[in-house]
Symmetry: C2
Subunit: 226 residues, 2 copies
């Protein structure tokens, strides 16, 4: 469902200084697969997930979604494609403090032109799935770290995307809450959703059917659960 073909990503910091975040990565994610991406801090996991999630473009190489070459799409077309097919949980949530929790979760539904009441209903449903219904009128900065993380996950699933990409989705959670969120991912995967999770945590990685290891911007190893 997503094919990454020989992708590099270079950040130019000044005339003479560059950071190579990805140095030639190829990876194919099948529909309905549950994939984990692991690797040391600073080695390119978030960058790879942002490129697979169509949030950033590669410096070279291609990204195909359902076989279609995304390099040919305009920024607007890319945003549309992403808005329909992908749900993204950022490493630091990216919630908007001037909106309520419910309004944050409704955001992915806005381009769909549905009535406000329907949007609110679907957003509430997503919030229930992460057990956050009590917070619907709060602002994100009135929540704890782990509570914000769960709101970010609700926002990533509200529009029922085929693919869910999550960057360290349980980093701020205690083990009981983490187990509940992993249960939610397992349920979504059983419903046929494709799940890609970046994690430092082996116990989360072992939920996946395949683990890819990144080092210095390259895939260095792969492990499949039998």
């Amino acid at each position: 469902v997503v094919d990454v073909i020989d992708v590099t990503k270079v950040y130019k910091l000044s005339e003479s200084v560059e950071t190579w975040a990805l140095r030639g990565v190829s990876l194919s994610v099948r529909e309905g697969e549950y994939l984990a991406v692991m690797g040391p801090s600073g080695h390119g996991k978030s960058t790879l997930l942002h490129i697979m999630g169509l949030l950033e473009r590669p410096s070279s190489g291609k990204v195909l979604v359902d076989g279609a070459d995304t390099s040919k799409l305009s920024d607007k077309e890319l945003a549309n494609l992403r808005g329909v097919k992908i749900g993204f949980v950022f490493q630091y949530f990216n919630l908007i403090n001037r909106m309520t929790v419910l309004e944050n979760i409704e955001l992915p539904l806005i381009p769909r032109g549905m009535p406000k009441s329907e949007r609110r209903r679907l957003a509430m449903e997503a919030l229930f799935k992460v057990e956050g219904e009590d917070w619907f009128e709060k602002r994100p900065n009135q929540l704890s770290g782990g509570q914000q993380q769960r709101v970010a996950l609700a926002r990533a699933i509200v529009h029922n995307p085929k693919i869910i990409m999550a960057d360290e989705p349980t980093g701020s959670l205690d083990s009981k809450t983490e187990a509940e969120i992993l249960g939610l991912f397992r349920k979504l995967n059983k419903e046929g959703k494709t799940i890609v999770v970046v994690t430092h945590n082996k116990s989360i990685a072992y939920e996946a059917e395949r683990i890819v290891y990144i080092k210095d911007g390259k895939i260095v190893d792969e492990e499949r659960r039998i």
Copy 2:
């Protein structure tokens, strides 16, 4: 060195809605102690650390630093006391994106009125301690999550505070980098620094000589390493 006496913290969300983050917490931290605070997501750990770190005032109860009652201090005096005695690592770092990494780390030294060259030298020294010297001219948003976390730790130790308080300091780090940071905390503790760490991670908690468990805004259990 820090005494928390029957502290509560209530957040008033509207006329009729309140959240009790802390419901009567008493805790004494001895000088040079290494204390861990654990507990489920949303149960008051960050709130307790912010109150102990003099970043927020309790709704009731007292906080004593070296025996002095902080409720009698003005906001300015509280900020001075905090700036001298405490180094704080926030759960989401609180780095300033419009300044370089080095300028971020220099911040706690500004009130000291030392020459710029001395500030830069001490900031570079702190950055070396977290192995981030290559990033000194970067902006925080040009770093990975775990790299930002290490910069936040460098900023918390640059002014050589007696007490270091860290909220989930290794949540974004892989196990090797996490072990390096825990080694740094151990070294600081051996030098006589008082360390208070909030964590969800048992292996980090077991670095400490005492673990305090928080549930629903109260201390429910305590464990001492023999």
